[in-house]
């Protein structure tokens, strides 16, 4: 019997051998002090690991929701809306700059309403006859 047991020894400790393998291993062990010593060493290492303290896990927070993914066509729409909002803001700012500086909140509201009502609709000038 020249071949020693090697990793079969760890498997034996863990109960991971078939019944026929267990018989083979036990037969070898009964006559091999080298494998007996190795089994003792492996058993110590296993016991050291199994004897390590275990801990309560910390409280885990809810993961953040991923930011919404904007589809390309929605992104284009968002840019268009932002552009309209910007133009409106600039128009209003220009209009307000031309008015007296002391003005009440109610006056602003009414003025804005008038502005909205009187805002000219831009109609593209298309020469007659063009397609």
């Amino acid at each position: 019997m020249t071949e020693h047991l090697g990793e079969l020894l760890s498997a034996r400790l863990d109960g991971e051998l078939t019944s026929s393998e267990v018989r083979t291993v036990n037969d070898h062990l009964s006559g091999c002090s080298l494998c007996q010593n190795e089994l003792t060493d492996l058993h110590s290492a296993r016991a050291a690991l199994r004897g390590l303290p275990t801990f309560e896990a910390p409280r885990f927070g809810l993961p953040r929701a991923a930011p919404p993914v904007i589809q390309p066509h929605r992104a284009r729409k968002a840019v268009a809306v932002a552009a309209v909002a910007f133009v409106s803001f600039v128009s209003l700012a220009t209009y307000q700059a031309s008015q007296p500086t002391e003005i009440s909140f109610s006056e602003v509201t009414e003025t804005q309403l008038e502005l909205n009502q009187e805002a000219p609709t831009l109609i593209p000038q298309i020469p007659e006859g063009s397609e």
């Binding site: 498997a11 991971e16 492996l42 690991l49 303290p53 801990f55 896990a57 885990f60 927070g61 993961p63």
Partner: protein, 165 residues
């Protein structure tokens, strides 16, 4: 048909085992908390696509992949943490005081010997002797043959024993 598994259930039921696995592999409470949180983040995303089967194997495959990814990342940048880790860490409570004390005293010698093993051997012995998995379960989680699991556990224990002698 059973109710779908929720992220909170996974954290409640498996959080402790994942954290202890992470603790023994990384060697410190802060990295263990970070790795555990990463696992749960991936679980949360993955649950949407999860189809009923071996939940344990699925969960531990994710856990193993997180460890491998984190290990590779750390090898590339050994000292500087990633900026997005700050936000994730902010979601966690501090490691419990008993963990901090134990980190400094109990099992320090064994933990130190564990950290001297290669990642493959360390993970194999931790999954077997700390998490308590069978060889088949480890093979499923790490996606290696059972024979390789047996060999890694054996080599890992031998090296550990030498380090502790």
């Amino acid at each position: 048909m059973s109710d779908p598994i929720t992220w909170e259930e996974v954290a409640r039921t498996h959080g402790r085992r994942i954290y202890n696995y992470a603790y023994r592999l990384t060697g410190n409470p802060a990295d263990a908390a970070d790795l555990s949180q990463e696992v749960l983040l991936r679980v949360r995303t993955g649950l949407e696509r999860y189809t009923p089967g071996s939940f344990e194997a699925w969960l531990w495959r994710i856990t193993h992949n997180c460890f491998v990814d984190g290990y590779r990342k750390k090898k590339r940048r050994p000292t500087v943490p990633l900026p997005d880790n700050i936000d994730r860490m902010a979601l966690l409570s501090s490691p419990p005081p008993d963990v901090v004390i134990a980190y400094n005293s109990l099992g320090e010698e064994v933990q130190s010997a564990l950290m001297g093993l290669s990642a493959e051997f360390r993970e194999a012995v931790v999954l077997c002797d700390v998490v308590g998995m069978s060889y088949d379960e480890i093979a499923d989680s790490v996606e290696i043959p059972v024979g390789t699991v047996r060999s890694r556990i054996h080599r890992g224990r031998k090296l550990l024993r030498e380090a502790l002698a």
